[in-house]
Structures are given as C-alpha cells and as structure tokens.
Symmetry: none
Subunit: 123 residues, 4 copies
C-alpha cells in the first residue's frame, strides 16, 4: 500500500494518511472487506507515532470508510455516495499541479513526461 507522508506540508499528517486511504477506498484500489495494516504496523512503515495513525483510522471510521473490529483489526467498508469521488477529476487535478510546477521551472513536456516515468519506476 502506497502512502506518501510529507511533514513539510501544512496539512496534519493524520489528515494526509486519512485522505490517501480514503482515495484508495473510493477508487477501489482497496476493496471492500479487505484488512488494513494494523495501526502499529503502518506507524512503523511510515515512521509515525502510533497515535497519529490511530487518529487517521478513527477519522476514517467516523467517515464510514473503514470499520474497526476490536482485536481483529480494521477493514474496508463498501464505498458510499459520500465517500466516493470523481477519479478522473482527481487525476486531472494532480496532473495539472505537476504541469504548473513544470512550466514554472521552464521544463518542456518531454522532460516532464520523462520525470513521471522515472517516478513511476521508483514505486
């Protein structure tokens, strides 16, 4: 499971984790009923404190995105209307953000696409 946390961003880390898990659930990358990593495990993987991941999971639970079954762990719930998003729009927005940066840096399209391919290979 790919989650990228950036402490330099003025968005709380637990919100970043929540947002990205919610996106994966909405997109079907994480499927209904699938078990999430334990709070402890994800905290270790991302280099975060247990409480930070716990807060993200708590928010996802109150958003009806995941369900926590006591000692069994946390599981993906079926996406609801309110949790599902427009994937195409999200991708377009992310692409636009890259394009803005690239043009400000004076990079051309070819180099930009090349950068995307290289980043793709790193994951």
């Amino acid at each position: 499971m790919i989650i990228a946390v950036d402490a330099s961003i003025p968005l709380p880390v637990y919100e970043q984790v929540r947002e990205q898990i919610a996106r994966m659930v909405a997109a079907g990358t994480l499927q209904t009923g699938q078990r999430l990593p334990t709070i402890r495990q994800l905290a270790v993987d991302l280099g975060l404190a247990k409480g930070t991941v716990a807060k993200a999971y708590e928010l996802l639970e109150s958003d009806q995105v995941i369900e926590t079954r006591g000692r069994m762990g946390s599981f993906i719930l079926a996406p609801t209307d309110s949790t599902s998003n427009d994937q195409a729009a999200e991708l377009a927005q992310a692409a636009e953000s890259l394009v803005v940066t690239a043009r400000q840096l004076g990079t051309d399209l070819e180099a930009t696409l090349e950068a995307v391919e290289q980043a793709w290979a790193r994951f």
Copy 2:
C-alpha cells in the same frame, strides 16, 4: 505568467503566490531585471484582493528575490544561493506526487501520461 492558487489548501494564498514566483525566479523562467506585473494587475488576473498580492511581493522583497523601485514597479533580482533551488529535485518531487495519486487511484502509466499531456495543453 502561470500562477495557480488553490484556496482549499491550508497554506495562505499569499504564500502560494510567493512560492510560485520564487520558483520561477530560481528556475530562470523569470529573468533578472525583468519587470513583474503590478500588484493591481496580478490581483485582477488571479482574482485576489490587492492586499494579498501586496503581501506576497513584500515577502519576496524581504527575501531578496525581487526589488520594488517605487512607482517604476517591481523587478526580478539576480538569484542568490539562498533563493536558488534544485530544479531537477523539484520536478522529481512534483512528478512523484502525481505518481502516488495515480497509483492510489489504480490508474496505469499510460493514462497518467495522457492526463499530463492534456493538462499541458490547457496552459
């Protein structure tokens, strides 16, 4: 001059403007001595209050990125060590951000590159 402002981000708008102008200066997209749009003009272009743009310019001036010459307008200063950044790293980071989103959405590389090309055409 491309500047993308997003009010939904918890980063103050004047910081977004400052950051993007600083990036263009560091990258050489805006060249030393070049005249910036007036505060009033840029505010109109971006749909912002005059004071917001004024604050961005003020911060850029105290960062030695631009210089304001009274009624002549504002001008780009020569990049200094502290204002210049690693362009390649910035582009790589922006590309990585897109790739993270794309993989979380379950998009493949081809569709991602396509989205970049389409966003490129919109600017």
Copy 3:
C-alpha cells in the same frame, strides 16, 4: 434483594451483579449461611440471560464470597478481610456522586434530599 442493572454502563452486567451481591455480603445485608436465589430465578427477576447470572455466581465463588452446594443452591459465606469493605466510605462516595450531579444540574440541597426520599419510596 435489590440489584440494579444498567446495560448502558460499560461495566459487564455480570460484574454489576457480582459487585452488588458482594457489597450486600460485606455489609451484612445478606447474612452468612443465607441461601441465594437460584441462578434461574435471579435471571428471571433481573431480566437477564441465565449465563450472565451464572458467571456472576462463579466469580463470587472464586472470590470466596458464596459457596455452591450442588443441587442445594448457593449460600453466603462468612465475610473475610478481603471481601469486607468500608461501608461508611462506600456510602459517602455514593452520596458524593449524587451531590456532584446535583450541583452540576444547579439543584439545591432541599430538592436533592427530596429526590432521595422519593427514590427510597420506590424500593
């Protein structure tokens, strides 16, 4: 025998039953050698499942508070040091709990005492 069970409390019901019987034994309200209601009978009286009452009795037996003599039923044992409590302190604590609630509700002493008298009459 007065036992008040409240399912809305996060204390397991069998613990509530155990605690209240233990209190009555410690206070002498239930005397040594006295026969307890059968599990089945108490379950009916309190509207509980038979297993819930059985678990309370089982815990009381392992605490040496009661003794089960096969088909004869269950009987109160003599209070030991570990089962006896400070009655005065228990009453004071219960009174304090009521007083805290009353003061938070803005009730005066007179109305509070009146409420106690009315509750007394209901049992």
Copy 4:
C-alpha cells in the same frame, strides 16, 4: 466548576469530562457564551494530561456543545434539542443509584440523607 473524575470507572476519563460539562451546559449551570477554562488549566486542576482534556473539548465541539475560537479559548454554545436533557430524570436516576447502594449496605433513610448533607458541605 465542579468536575469529578474517577479513574477506577471503566468509562474513559475524557468521556467523564465531556459528560459532566455537557450536563452543566444542558442544565444552564454553564451559560451560553461563557468561557470555559483553558485546556491547560483544566488539565492542571483535574490532574490530567493536556491531551485528555483536549479530547473531551474536541468531542464537545463535534457535539455542538461548545465552540473553540482559536487562541481565544473555548466557549459555551446555546443548548440545542439534541444536547438538552431531562434534568429531573437525571437527578432521579442519580438519587436512585445512591438509594440502591444505601439499601444494599443496610443503611436507613436518615443516615443516607445525612451522608448527602455531609457530601454537600464538602463542595
């Protein structure tokens, strides 16, 4: 402001704090617009960690019982239908709880009322 926290109760401490503040708001003991103690101050007063009180306030805010105005502190909101409770019923229930304990201890009515008066004097 009277808040009684009991760590031996199997109800999380932050829930106890939330419940008691909510009760005082519902009863009008804390009036609309009134400023609550700061998180730090209440934590010191109750001998709790800052985060525990912060969680209680956070829940009260999501319950629309209080409002937090950044660095100004936290303030009581006007009670809503969903936050207001039946005071008389709450008092009766608290009195009933005391009566159950008293009768289980074999205490008579007079001694019970006396215990209430003494507890009253301690606050």
